[in-house]
Every structure is written in structure tokens, then in C-alpha cells.
Amino acid sequence: MSRPFPYTYISCPCADTPVPDPARKRRSRESPQKSPQKPPPERANTDQDKKLSAKEEEQGEDEDEEQTFDPRSPRSNFSLYPPEQLLYCEECHQIKCPRCITEEIVSWYCPSCLFETPSSMVRSDGNRCGRNCFNCPVCTAPLAVSTIENATGNAPQQGPWVLSCGYCLWTTLDIGIKFDKPTNIRSQLQKMTDSTPPAALDRSRQASRTFEDLKHPLSSYASIDEQSNARERDGEQAAPKEDQGAPPMGMDARFAALKNFYRTQISETSNSPNDHLSSEFGFSSPGALNRLMSLYASSSRLSGLYGGSKKPKSKPPVMREALTASEGLQVASENSETDMIARLQSPECGWDGMASIDQRATQSPDARFIDDLLPLPVLLRTKRAKRCKSCKHILVKPESKPQSTRFRIRLIALSYIPLPTLRPLAPSSSSALPAMAPTSDLNSLPPLRPIHILLTLKNHMFDPVRITLATPPVTPGRVATKVTVLSPQFEIGANSDVWDEALQGASAPLTSDSRSAALRGVPEAGKVWDKGRNWTTVVLEVVPGTLPGSSAEGGDGNPNTETNDEDVLAVAASRQDEDVLEIPVFVHMDWDADAQLDQQNVGKGSKPDDKVTRELAYWMVLGVGRIQPSL
């Protein structure tokens, strides 16, 4: 989802840990012997740094990345998030993005009927709604249960019923399916499509049981040959009967039959009688593992080494495969492929009669034609709790009820880091800067014309915070836009009682638009533009660079912008949307928090009144607009 200009993204510090400091690398290069200290980030705007950074344009890309966050770097895609998507861990005191959390399912629900599915039912229902919710197999729109006899208004509640799509007008009549009742459609449908002869299942169970009888616990003849021979004889008798009697099973029924078959196979072929229990737990159960181990151990030298006994001479029992249709075997018909090709070529099928790849992806593997497509029970969705990956603390816990939008726990980053909003400063008529461009259209910023951008940071914490902003003097990439934060250091007030603001008539930041511009006159360096109870607005002076190859490109353009990148992909990625003006801003914030929340930190930076100084630093990207190709 791309956002309209202006937008702000925040880079999760997990992308580069420790958080890169824009000046650290520089300092360390100046004096490589000295251990890198933490210089004030606002130095990034000094003249000396300008020169340095110009030099650094020539340096390798990797060094550039460590210094200034480049919103255009392919890696940035993985760390930039809209502010409302970020969480905050109070234990780690850090921003948490979707990459630094783990999720746990709180509840399953159907997105169509909004009923919760108990976790015990989720598996048996195949992660799909067990009620009357279906998606159209042709277009995925939800299907409605409607009666065919709609025209005759005086006959309410009379079937037959069909599922119909309100988007592409497909109905189950297209595949010849009608329902007797408007309820329990899924089980009705299952009965129709599966055509599972219950007798077949019973028979297979019986067959297995006879086999169990055959295999005496003490007998040693239960080898694979004997077993399969016996079964073949058995199967030969059974197969012709079944093939004629029962119609071919549906996918689900066949799966159930195969599952059942293998379950009995596991129990039958296990060595110890206790293993019968294990069949309930499947292949991964300790019993199954035991069986596998003994299978290998008996034939290896190890058995001689450890056991030493000569007993396990008999061949271990080996599982066989399904042999009859009732066990889930489906024999490929001889002519099925040629029949299918003939049908594809026939005029009544044509292109429209074939199912698309998208449609087939959600259907049984046999579905080739539109008529084979069955209504799809709606896939369930989940409500999930989120944990910090590093400390395992819960950051988000929604209420489990599907219809509830409330949270038991919700530690969003916006409760801690200031909410950034961006807005161009409308040029006032009495402006002292005649070169100021009209900023009404952010989609075509004229190059080399300075504009003023108002950046408002709104604090949601109950403590005032001190902010230091730093930007590279020139934006990274081939389009060199000059950026200056006119007042990089400022404070934001605490988020005190919300009612105060409401009673005072709510002077929110975005309201004081042109009115205040006229009052405030010209943006000045070192002065914040505007300030409210828990927000502060500062001005960024931006001189959009010229696009490479545009007519306006002159001596002002950066001569070093020609990239010698090895990485072709990176270049391609950077040239696409090159005209988008994105400004990386390094935000450093610190504040005095109550120490009582975690005692272990009291010793370090404690202040007399049980306050602890906390700090947080991260990169932020301001999407200002698009630069015009020429003046």
C-alpha cells in the first residue's frame, strides 16, 4: 500500500543493530585509534560534515549504509514501517516491528459469519468455516444461500436452495448441485461430492482386523512377502466387487480412507503390543519411532553388539501400500488423459470451459474444467497475540471474541515515540523568500526551489521528551536534495490530561495552518515553528535536487552521483522512483521516566526523584513528494 504524499515511515532499529549513529563512523575515520564516542548528531549539518559527506559519496556503498540511512537502498524495504504498525517493548525499551515479534493464535474465526471456531474443531474442519460460508470457485466472492423459487413470493422457506455468487453470477446449479435445506450446507455438500459409501470404510476396517488376527503376536512369519501375498489374494477377491459397487470416492473420503489404512498398518506392523496405542498419535509418536529403530537395529551389527541375542532373526514386519479402492487406492484410468485432451479440444469446452490456474490452485488436483470446481468453504482467520522475540513479553493481546476490536494489551510504538506528521508550509504573501515555490502540489516539486516543510512531532507519553533531529545535508542517491532542519533540538511537552486540550478549544497542530503562517512570518534557524501542549512543529528547509538528465541539471548537481555500483539490482531499484523525494531523519529522544517500573536501572542513571533517563534513537523517512523533471 503506497501512501499519498506527504508520509512518514519509521525504520525499525532491528535492521541494523546497534542503531547506526550518523556521525560515529566519520569520527572513527578521523582518528582511527580513538574509540568511537557518541558525538552530537546535529553535527551532521555542519559545514565540515558537508565536505566529508561529499567525499564519502565516493566511498563504497557498504560504508554509506552504515552512516546515513538510505531510503532507496533495497534493504530499507525491510525496515521501514508506517508508524502505526510498530510496537514497543517496555522491557527492551525498543521499537518492535513485525520482524522482531512472534505471534500466537488467540482464536480462529470465520471472516464471513464472524463466528469463532473452537481450536479443537479447527483441524477437523480443515481450517475452514463449518457453517454456510463459501467462496465462489470462479471469482472468490462470497456465495449467498438463496432459493430458486424466489419469484413465487408466497412460498417462504421452500427449497431447493443454491449457493450463488453476487459478483460473477455463478451458482451451484452450474455444476448441478441443489440443497434441500438452507442450513448445514457444508455437510450436505460433502455428502454429495464425496459419495463415501459407509460400507466401504467398514469393509476396510474389517479387512484390517482379519489381518490382525492373522498376525499372531508370537508368530514370526509376519514378513512383507507373506503379508502382501496374503493381501493380494484378499484384494483380488475384493477389488472387482468394489469397483462395480461403489462410485469413486471424493478427495476427502479418499484421504480419510488412506489415513485410516495407514493407521491400521502402523498398529499391525508394530512389534510390541503396546504400540497399538501409538497409532492414535501418528508417525511421530514414540512407538512409531521405536518401531523404526528396531527395524534398523535388528539388521545391523549394533544389535549383536548390545543385545547379543540371536532372537531377532525373523524379518521385521513392513508396512504395505493401499491395494483396494476402499483403502484409498485410486487407479489411473487408461483413457483419462486422452479423454481430457479430447474434451479440451471440443468446441463446447473451449477456453472458457477450462479452469484457470488460480482456480485450480484451491481445488482438488483433478479439477481441470469449470464444471469440476466446487464451492470453497471460507478459510478461517485468526486473532493473534504478539510477543517480543528477544524478551518474550507480550506486546499485543486482542480479546478473543471475533467481533471485539478491543485489546487486553496493546503496546504500540505511538504511545512512546512521537507521532510524526508532515505538511508543506504554505508560502505567505509577505514572504521574505521570493524564490519560494508554491507547495500545493507535492507530486511535482520544482527542482532547486527551496520549500519549507513543517514537521510536527506529537508526544503521547506522560513525560516531556527532548528531541534531537539530524539529517544528512544532502539526501543519498543520485538526486541531491539539500535539507536543513532549522531547529534540530527541541522539547515536546508531556501528554497530560486530554480534557485540558478539549476544554481549551483544541488547538491541534494541523489546524494552525495559514493563519499562523501569517502570524509567524518567516521560518528562522534555531527557532521552533510552533508548540502546543504535547506537540512541537519545526521547519525543514528543502531544496529539491535536479533529476539526472533533466534540463535543469547544472553545476549545482553532485558530480559524484554517477554510481559505480556492482550491484545491478540495487541500481535498478534506486533509479526507479528516483524523483521521489524522501528525507532520512535521525531521531534521538531522551526523557526522564519513572524508575519504579524496573528497579535494576535505578543505579545507573538515577536522578534524585526516582527518575531514570531513557533514550531512544531511530531513523525516520519523510516522504515529501515528487520532483519535477525540469523547471
Binding site: 502505526e84 510498530l86 471472516p111 453476487g166 471475533p402 476490536t405 504500540i412 507521532l419 491541534a508
Partner: protein, 204 residues
Amino acid sequence: MPPPKTAKGEYIETDTGNKISRRSQIHGTQHIILGGKTVIQAEAVIRGDLFRTATLPTDPNNASAAAAPNPSTPSVAITVGRYSYISKSAILRPPSRLHRGIHSFYPLKIGDHVFVGEGAVVEAASLGNHVHVGKGAAVGSMAIIKDYAYVLDGAVVPPGMVVPSWCIVGGRPARIVGEVGEGYGVEGAEGGMARERYRVVGRT
């Protein structure tokens, strides 16, 4: 290109703070309830004239002619909550359904802090609170869009679809393609801009 400057007095402000463009088309005002501080922009069409009556007009295009046959029982066609925003050229139209052979209209309920984008067509049964309907999107008849759901630009939500809370839908027909972040709807952030949006309307 900067948009043409709005003429002075473009918006009529009601007692409850609704700002309604003089260039919007609102039919059947007695069947529309606006919760206050709602914005209706120019060329938006609101069809309050399509409401359920005992004798139903069969052709919705002629409905305005046959409207209000019984003024003593005013039925509500459209309800809009507080701080909702109906953009330019958007169309709000009560949903309708063929029920037992009779075509009848049902009320359209729109919650608080809802945004309906430019040129969008909404025929839903309900849009919950903080719902965003993108530019050029179409929300089909009887669809139910729950709180904090997000309909992307140009999406076509099929008739009768239910979009759960926090879900993002897009495409034609619309499918659930993602979820908004937990911070969605926080005042001033994405999904929580309704008050700011309201305040700047009508200022020149």
C-alpha cells in the same frame, strides 16, 4: 495543478457542525440522519429517497417521484455518524435486495470517523467506525464493513461480503489482502485523521 479555489461559502454548516457542500446532491433529506461534524463534499450524491415503503417503487430511478407516500412514519434511509467524510463525487445509496419476489431497500448505516473516498459508490448495509473506503471503490449491496476495516482504492467489494475489523481488502472482487497495524485509528495517525480532516474543511 492546484485544485480550483473553493468559492466562499462553499459549505453550509448545520447546527450540529455538519459541513455540507452546496454543490452536493442530497435527495430525501428527511430520511437522512447526520450525526454531526460530518463533511459532504461537492458532487457527492446521497440517496435518502431510496427507503423502504409499504408500496415499493419498482424502478429506483423513479423513486424520488414516488417518495414519501406516508410522511407520518418517516423511515430512515441513511445514517451517518460523527466526523465522517464523504468525498467529492462519492455516492451513498441504500442497499436493496429481492426478498420473496419484492425488491426492497434497506437502511445504510455509516459509523463515526468513516472516510469515503472520491468517486466511491457505497451500497453497504453498514460501514463501521473508522472504516476507510478508498478512491473509486465500490461497496456492493448489503455488504458489511466492520470497524477499522480498510477498502483499498478501486476495490470492488462484492454484494453481501463481510469484511472483518482491521482487515484490508482490495481487488475485483475484493479479497482480504492484509491487516492494518495495531496503532491504526490512533488520533492523528493513519485511521485517526477524521478530526483533522473535518477542521480543515471550508477554510480558505
